[in-house]
Assembly symmetry: C2
């Protein structure tokens, strides 16, 4: 018996600095899964988790954890830059990010963030 889909997903592809960059966002009840890939690989898997702070006025802080792949300092920085807003906009859901970048700089991270925003389903 076929049934109506409950998982929603949105996909976009664009050239960033001349490199085909693909984004897929999938919304689960407990997580948002964001794929950012520049060469078809799933790459590094990072969980980005918000932690509420005692002061209600403050925004939550975020911790990043590499679940699979190389644990490099820059990966944590990119992950926070790319998907912190996803968590904030979705009512502080944790985000699972699959990230495979050839190279990155401030401008390309900004462009990729816009690509993620174009896949907004939360």
């Amino acid at each position: 018996m076929a049934a109506k889909s409950i998982i929603r997903s949105k996909q976009a592809a664009e050239a960033v600095d001349g490199t085909l960059t693909e984004v897929v966002c999938t919304v689960f009840n407990d997580y948002i899964f964001v794929v950012v890939t520049q060469y078809g690989k799933m790459g590094t898997l990072i969980s980005v988790t918000p932690h509420s702070v005692g002061n209600e006025i403050s925004k939550p802080t975020f911790s990043t954890k590499i679940l699979m792949g190389k644990d490099e300092p820059l990966i944590h920085v990119y992950a926070k830059h790319l998907v912190t807003f996803v968590s904030e906009e979705s009512g502080n859901k944790p985000v699972l990010l699959a990230l495979a970048l050839k190279e990155a700089n401030v401008d390309s991270i900004k462009s990729i963030k816009q690509l993620i925003q174009s896949c907004r389903l939360w």
Copy 2:
């Protein structure tokens, strides 16, 4: 500049033992990502990795590792049952499985396996 998508994904939903079960399979160059969810959650994240053995006649063995979520013995068993064939059919690619089951038995695992087979893109 919009560009052609390189990530391929296939999705199916079916009632298994009366419970809406959803499967999403996404093919990456380095991994196959399989989602099996019964209540919209991403649930437990398990990597299922083939290890080739010295004897070429033998099939590879598989190791399972919980990357996120509860590490319970049955999860490893379900993961192997559900996605070992995906790895074998795709030329021994490792599989990342997101698994959220309400409850499971031999028959329901069999039905879910068929649902995964219906999303075959590898």
